[in-house]
Amino acid sequence: MTKVLDPTNEATPADIPRAARPETLDGLTVGLLDISKPRGDRFLDRIEERLVERGLRVERFRKPTFTKPAPVDLRHEIATKCDVVIEALAD
């Protein structure tokens, strides 16, 4: 029998439950997060038009760079202001 040492961080990933999906967007504030990839803004502009046509409130956000995780303050701001968020990954 071979016994070896665990090369991993031995951390069982914390099980973060997904937020409940809303039945409808009516009356909700939708956050649009641009991760700063080229042309992601164009995609989000179009989404914003469509959401506003439906009478929804929209808040726009932008990550400083797509190569790094969103700053904690930005994440907090989005969570405070919005009920749902749409993130654009584009090129």
């Binding site: 071979t2 016994k3 070896v4 040492l5 665990d6 190569t67």
Partner: protein
């Protein structure tokens, strides 16, 4: 008595011997003589009946006595008073033995001196096991047992712990031996490893270094490499997550490169050298296993590159026309350092006809312009690896590294109207508004000129960089400490 307790020392004289040692055979008459005159205990390592004619003989079969009392050579003779060692001599030296035993005229028929042999307790094939058995283990990592019918190598693949190549099973004995390669404490945290930002100890690095195939003396280089890439500046998280193919390229400078047998010459960027092949791999395995960075998960590279298994080499310092590349980062020549550069696969560059520095610089510039895209400038650094057949030209003409970099930069300057989006009927390019400017390919200090490669071949090589600066990665150079 527990295995971790040191066996008591008998009073008087204590000799440690093994039969498989000609010097021990030689001194049997001396031991027999001393045994008659004084209180002598002989510990024998390999044969309970050796040496014949000694009354007080103990078989150190488990080598506990030898290990706990740091016996490195046989024969070793100790003088013990009140349970404490007061003096010791190793091998056979008549004068030393006479002085230690306070007995004149020892071994008149023997030569004056003979060196001893290695103690079994320091035999490299068994000393790691003794270390574990008698020294107690300070290793805290979770032990994982494979079933008797499980193939160890298959089991390591099945758990997702390899990069697709076999790994050396990280047994406790191997990891304990690896940890001897550094003076740092196993529990010391080296870095937080992305993407999981998991704290990584020296011990976890050692486990992955064993798996990668490293020898213990490589460990300080691996530790420095891990520390270099897991900095905000280097941004390993972004480098891992990008769709681009880049990965850490580690360049080692200083005397340690030669001491641990690294390659800076023939086939420098290729296979065949254990240190080059395994140090970079160990860093990558740390990112995979400790950080959780796996292809198809957070690693989103469209192509990747062969260098993502591990990419590490040494600069060819001994006949370089330039000081070590680490001096660009403020380290004095002769310092042991690792430079981490976010690089892609190397590309060869041929110029077999130029014999003057300016024409070589033109060849370099013409090729370097194409990194990522000829119309994308200032956003990507590069390594220019210059082999001896090319570097000779710069040495003979007295061109410094800075002078060469400056000339290459001048030669890459192009008008903005050729570079902007849409120019040349290519939408890719830099944003409009710089049409009237003249711009170089590289930012200041973006070009890293490194001396390496085999002695024959009128070539250089290019390793293109990833996005530089705040939104990407900047190279990081750190000192290697023991």
């Amino acid at each position: 008595m527990s295995l971790n307790e040191s066996p008591p020392l008998p009073e008087g004289l204590v000799a440690v011997v093994k039969k498989d040692c000609p010097t021990c055979e030689l001194i049997i008459p001396v031991l027999i003589g001393l045994g008659k005159e004084t209180q002598l205990t002989v510990f024998t390592q390999d044969d309970p009946d050796f040496p014949a004619g000694i009354d007080d003989r103990q078989f150190d079969e488990e080598l506990a006595f030898s290990w706990h009392h740091n016996i490195e050579t046989v024969p070793t003779l100790l003088a013990v008073e009140e349970g404490k060692e007061v003096s010791r001599t190793v091998g056979w030296s008549r004068s030393n033995w006479e002085s230690l035993t306070k007995t004149p005229g020892l071994g008149r028929d023997l030569p004056d001196q003979r060196p001893g042999c290695g103690s079994l307790s320091v035999d490299p094939s068994i000393s790691p096991d003794l270390e574990l058995r008698f020294g107690g283990s300070s290793i805290t990592a979770r032990r994982v047992e494979f079933a008797a019918l499980e193939d160890t190598h298959e089991a390591l693949f099945d758990r997702g712990w390899t990069d697709g190549l076999p790994v050396v099973p990280p047994t406790e004995a191997r990891v304990a031996a690896m940890l001897k390669g550094t003076t740092r404490s196993p529990e010391e945290v080296v870095a937080s490893i992305p993407p999981d930002l998991a704290p990584c100890t020296v011990e976890k690095v050692a486990i992955n270094a064993v798996m990668a195939g490293c020898r213990p003396e490589y460990l300080p280089v691996v530790l420095a490499g891990v520390a270099a890439v897991c900095t905000q500046t280097f941004n390993m998280h972004g480098l891992l997550a990008t769709t681009m193919p880049h990965a850490p390229v580690l360049i080692v400078n200083g005397p340690i490169a030669e001491q641990i047998g690294m390659n800076s010459g023939n086939n420098v960027l290729g296979q065949g050298n254990r240190a080059n092949s395994t140090i970079g791999r160990a860093v990558q395995l740390v990112i995979r296993n400790v950080g959780g960075g796996r292809p198809g998960e957070v690693d989103r590279a469209a192509f990747g590159s062969p260098g993502k298994v591990g990419f590490c080499f040494a600069e060819r310092e001994n006949d370089s026309p330039w000081p070590p590349i680490s001096t660009m980062y403020g380290f004095p020549a002769g310092t042991n350092t690792v430079l981490a550069f976010p690089g892609e696969a190397p590309r060869n560059l041929v110029d077999q006809l130029s014999r003057d520095p300016d024409s070589l610089a033109r060849t370099y510039a013409a090729n370097l312009i194409s990194i990522q895209h000829p119309k994308l400038i200032l956003g990507f650094d590069a390594i220019l690896a210059v082999a001896p057949d090319h570097s000779r030209v710069f040495r003979e003409s007295g061109w410094s590294r800075e002078q060469l970099a400056e000339r290459i930069n001048e030669l890459t300057v192009r008008p903005g109207h050729e570079l902007v989006r849409g120019a040349g009927n290519i939408p890719e390019g830099i944003p409009e508004g710089v049409e009237d400017s003249y711009l170089p390919k590289f930012r200041e200090n973006g070009l890293h000129i490194v001396h390496c490669g085999g002695a024959a071949g009128l070539f250089s090589a290019i390793i293109g960089g990833w996005v530089n600066g705040e939104m990407g990665s900047d190279p990081v150079c750190v000192e290697i400490t023991p």
